[in-house]
């Protein structure tokens, strides 16, 4: 047995050993996302920066693709992390899971290299299969698409077979059904049709339904497990809440898809469906806030892992503001006609993705590090606690700064380009040249530096936190009672 505070695989079960591999790649890809985002941000201010070397379109694509893939790696890692604990049995097909990890990682490296090496050229059948599929956010070429589906199916097999062999908890049941949707919906983004409206119709199934249905449910499962582990909340309570939230999310999130169908040539009834269900979408988020207050009052914020709990609280608020407030501000078709696809959307996207998803993955990585170091103390008076606090502050300050800056840019764009200029090509450039837009981009860049500094500090903290601790972890109330 390794000494307390030393990183040792002996402290982990099989699924958790695989999980830390996924977490490691997730953090590396998070770094790539920040790097390409910064480069794209500089190109907004100095359009000739890296001209002919690294196109803005490629930078932006890598920035967004890295986001999607690092979150996927994080989610898969988090599920492997909880799998043996939840099911009470070793992961079924762990070797296959390990193979999937290496294949997936290698595929991501190859795809990124191809993006960087082949930045321009004709779009033809060969390029769809080998270079870039051309669908925004899911640009991966067709071979990688098929690879992703195979990897997710292996992942599904690992999870479903393990729960079937062991015990099916409430969290496990919801998780397995959610993974069916996660794998199935990706197929909708591979559907080929020459009609652009139909193409967009299916493409949104991946983008919206992944994010506002399957990812939200996955996060609900992870949060339920996280609350049991960090605060000792009773399983029956978190599982009941998981069912309620899943029902609310599916009730509003699935047909909330309609707000993406407003302007792509789909029938007019989508205006009514999208408007109605989009108005309902904040309700589960408000429910989560009320329940968070209730639980905080009940458990007096005592926790076995302060950084993980802090990031989980950040998730509840980030999800509420990013998805709820920033989403509802421009979701009704009467205003969405002007804001759709402007920097306003980018503002909403930044805060929602960071608030709802990045936070929970970071929380799980803190949980993983704690156990990897032998279940070391991570509560009050922890050595070097300033690092996680400052990392969290800089990341949030940077994200809020970027969100506000993009909000101002989007407001100006929707006003000048859309409402006054009528969405013409000239109006697009006129809005981009406006002083409010330009100043907003400068402030976005300054906030981006804060975010990048926060990322560096976070990576440093994840590598070192708990290293000098010699105290064992404080058990949450429920676990202490069980022990």
């Amino acid at each position: 047995m390794a000494a307390l505070g030393t990183l040792s695989s002996a402290n982990l079960n099989g699924g958790q050993k695989l999980a830390v591999k996924f977490f490691t790649v997730a953090i590396a890809l998070f770094g790539a996302q920040v790097l390409f985002g910064m480069l794209a941000g500089i190109q907004y201010l100095k359009p000739d920066f890296l001209f002919g070397i690294l196109d803005f379109s490629v930078n932006r694509m890598l920035h967004i693709n890295a986001l999607v893939v690092w979150l996927l790696f994080g989610f898969i890692g988090a599920v492997y992390w909880i799998l043996e604990d939840e099911s009470g049995t070793p992961v079924v097909g762990l070797g296959l899971g390990n193979l999937m990890f290496w294949v997936f990682t290698l595929a991501v490296v190859v795809v990124v290299l191809v993006y960087l090496l082949v930045q321009t050229g004709p779009g033809e059948l060969k390029s769809i299969w080998l270079i870039n599929e051309g669908r925004e956010y899911i640009e991966a070429p067709r071979w990688a698409d098929i690879g992703i589906v195979v990897c997710v199916l292996i992942f599904f097999y690992n999870v479903a077979a393990t729960f079937m062999k062991g015990r099916f908890t409430g969290i496990g049941g919801v998780l397995v059904f959610d993974l069916v949707a996660l794998a199935g919906l990706y197929l909708a983004g591979m559907w080929y049709t020459p009609n652009i409206s139909m193409d967009q119709h299916w493409w949104w199934w991946v983008i919206h339904l992944w994010v506002e249905a399957t990812w939200e449910v996955l996060v609900g499962c992870l949060l339920a497990y996280g609350l049991i582990k960090t605060m000792g909340v009773r399983r029956k309570i978190v599982e009941t809440w998981l069912y309620i939230e899943v029902a609310l999310l599916f009730g509003s999130g699935i047909l909330g898809l309609g707000h993406h169908y407003f302007w792509i040539g789909t029938p007019e009834y989508w205006l009514a469906i999208g408007g109605f269900f989009s108005a309902l979408e904040p309700i589960p988020l408000v429910a989560m806030v009320v329940h968070a207050v209730f639980d905080a009052g009940h458990h007096k914020m005592k926790s076995a892992n302060h950084p993980a709990l802090a990031w989980m609280i950040a998730q509840a608020f980030g999800n509420f503001f990013g998805a709820g407030v920033w989403g509802f501000m421009h979701t009704l078709p009467q205003i969405n006609i002007y804001t759709h696809g402007t920097q306003w959307t980018a503002s909403h996207g930044h805060l929602a993705f960071f608030g709802a998803y990045a936070t929970i993955v970071i929380a799980f990585i803190y949980l993983a590090v704690q156990k990897w170091r032998g279940n070391v103390w991570m509560s009050g008076n922890m050595a070097g606690a300033w690092r996680w606090k400052w990392a969290m502050f800089l990341l949030h300050a940077g994200m809020i700064g970027m969100t506000m800056a993009l909000l101002i840019a989007g407001y100006e764009q929707s006003h000048i380009e859309r409402a006054i200029g009528g969405s013409t090509w000239m109006a697009y450039f006129e809005a981009q040249a406006g002083p409010w837009f330009q100043q907003a981009m400068t402030w976005r860049m300054i906030s981006g530096w804060s975010f990048a500094a926060g990322f560096v500090l976070l990576a440093w903290d994840l590598m070192t936190i708990g290293k000098r601790e010699t105290r064992p972890a404080q058990l949450p109330a429920a676990e202490a009672a069980a022990a």
């Binding site: 205006l271 108005a279 904040p282 009320v290 207050v293 009940h298 407030v325 979701t331 009467q334 006054i420």
Partner: protein, 112 residues
């Protein structure tokens, strides 16, 4: 389905009132829950004041976004007003229901 786009002069009002709907909604829900958790009736009065803010924001949004020009969108406005009023009550009942057993255990474990 007739959608009348927002007039240029009402842009800011729409964004601001829509954000206020959700913020007042959260404030209402938070104060409601906190008042019940801590047993402080004064917070409940503040919670309903927050709901009044929410209702004013919804009506402002309705006018600024031309929602009252159609029956369907007027229904959405009414849905928001009624839904946000009762949602924290319903969620609170769920909270109490799901924690009932835990409360019972705390009572049993407490020394008399």
């Amino acid at each position: 389905m007739i959608v009348e786009p927002v007039h240029l002069a009402n842009f800011f009002t729409v964004f601001f009132s829509a954000a206020s709907v959700i913020l007042f909604g959260a404030l209402y829900a938070l104060l409601f829950a906190w008042s019940r958790v801590r047993g402080r009736p004064r917070l409940m009065a503040m919670a309903y004041a927050a709901y009044l803010g929410l209702a004013a924001s919804v009506v402002t949004l309705g006018y600024a976004a031309n929602l009252f020009n159609s029956g369907f969108w007027t229904f959405i406005v009414l849905l928001m007003l009624v839904g946000y009023l009762f949602a924290p009550h319903a969620i609170w009942h769920l909270c109490v229901g799901t924690h009932a057993e835990e409360d019972e255990m705390v009572k049993i474990s407490q020394p008399r």
